[in-house]
Each structure stands twice: as C-alpha cells, then as structure tokens.
Subunit: 110 residues, 2 copies
DNA sequence: TGTTTATATTGCAATATTACGATATAGTTT
DNA sequence: AAACTATATCGTAATATTGCAATATAAACA
C-alpha cells in the first residue's frame, strides 16, 4: 500500500481533495498570491520572485494548472499565467458549506 | 532534496499550506463532511463509515487535529471529535481574498 | 484485578512528492 | 539558418505520505 484509495470516495470528494492538495504547498500558495498581486505574468517572473529553480517552478505551475487553479496562454515564446476561476469556484461551495455550518453551530461541540 | 523548503516562505504561507494540505486527501474531506452531518461523533463511528482501517482513520484524525481543523475531547473511554473553527477561520481569509479578486477581475486575463 | 471497549502508536512496505541539473522543445530575433 | 530566450521534460536522489497488521495504552465495568 501507500497509494490513496480514491476508488472508495465520491468524485466530489476526490476532486475537492485534488484542489486542496494542489494548494497544500507554500510555493504554490506564494504563486497564487503573486498572481493576484500582478494579475498575470510569465513563468520567468515567478522564477525571479521565488527562491526555487526554474524546473521546480515549472513543476508547481503544472500542478496548479492540472488542478484547474491557474491557466496559461502562449504570448510570443513565453507563457502568460493567471488565476483560473473554474477551480476556485469548485472549492468555494465546500467552504461555504463549512462556514454556514460553523456560523449556525449553537453549542460548541462534544 | 525532496523536502519542502519551508524556510523560504512566510509563516502565513506555510500555515495556510499546512491547512490546505490537511484537506488534500479524500478520506479527510469525507471525515470533515461526516462531522458536519452528525455534528460530533467518536472515532469508531468514522471507522464504520469509511472503508479504511482503524489505524488509518486514527492517523487521518491526527493530521486534521494537528492542523487545527478538528478537535477531540475525552468522553468516557472514547474520544468525541468535531470541527475546530480555528483552522477554518484561518483558511477563510485567504479564500475571501481570492474570491474578492476574482469577482472584481474585469477582463479575463492574459 | 481481569476483561472489554476505544483509540493511539509502532514498524514496515508501497507509492508519491519535492527539488534540481541536464537537456529538450519551441518561438524570436538577427 | 544560427543564436537567443522562455519553458517543459527527463532522470534521479532525498524525503514524505498512505495504509495496515500487530501491539500498546487507557478508561469502563464486572
């Protein structure tokens, strides 16, 4: 064993886990925050911004892109990256659910 | 190499990554959703609910607890688990930031 | 005290992630 | 076409995660 048993969970649970897992690394949080700050930029800008090598940044961008949290379009010989609302919209529902629950929870808990 | 270079990122980035990483597994998403559904329950209830062994559930509960997303209190010889608002409140700010940005983003992006 | 019930911990194998040097790919420019 | 710029991929080492059987711990109860 060692691999996650995805077949035992719903598609929604697996998809949400893929999205949150993609955000589960400080470099990828930093990339998202940087993209919010500058709206859009090319990969090289992020390589200059963060203390990680170009291949490592490229790998993190790939994971964020695969999860649907960012998108990239060719712009000359560079690739312009920005946030992808699709992924964040999927996460939104879950946290709204959680927050609504917590806001309405009367007595602490157990 | 192989370990995340946490020293290169801010405390906020690392803390947020720990929280989202803790949610980055379908079993842990399922546990959170189950706790919302039943408000609170003991570990054994989750073992009955999910198709994973008792040690594996115990390990996932530990990770959620360490991240600050759930809390557990002794109740007789069992432990009663429920959501911990502390962790979710920390995540909330980040997603509010992202959603506000996305809502105000005029022209798509690059 | 001995037994039962509930949960945690240990130990380990399988797999996944992280990071980066070296190299490949692809568009741009001269 | 050759050189340059930007990004991706390959290969690999170090580390982390996942899952479970076996075992330990701890409270409740007979």
């Amino acid at each position: 064993m060692g691999a996650t048993k995805t077949e035992n969970f719903t598609d929604e649970q697996n998809e949400l886990a893929i999205l949150t897992k993609a955000l589960g690394h400080p470099a990828r949080i930093a990339i998202i925050e940087y993209l919010i700050k500058v709206e859009s930029c090319i990969c090289g800008d992020i390589v200059n911004e963060l203390p990680l090598s170009q291949p490592t940044i490229s790998q993190h961008l790939k994971e964020l892109k695969n999860a649907g949290l960012i998108k990239g379009n060719f712009e000359g010989n560079a690739i312009c990256y920005c946030l992808n609302e699709v992924g964040f919209d999927k996460i939104k529902g879950f946290f709204q659910h959680v927050n609504t629950y917590l806001d309405n929870r009367k007595n602490g808990c157990c």
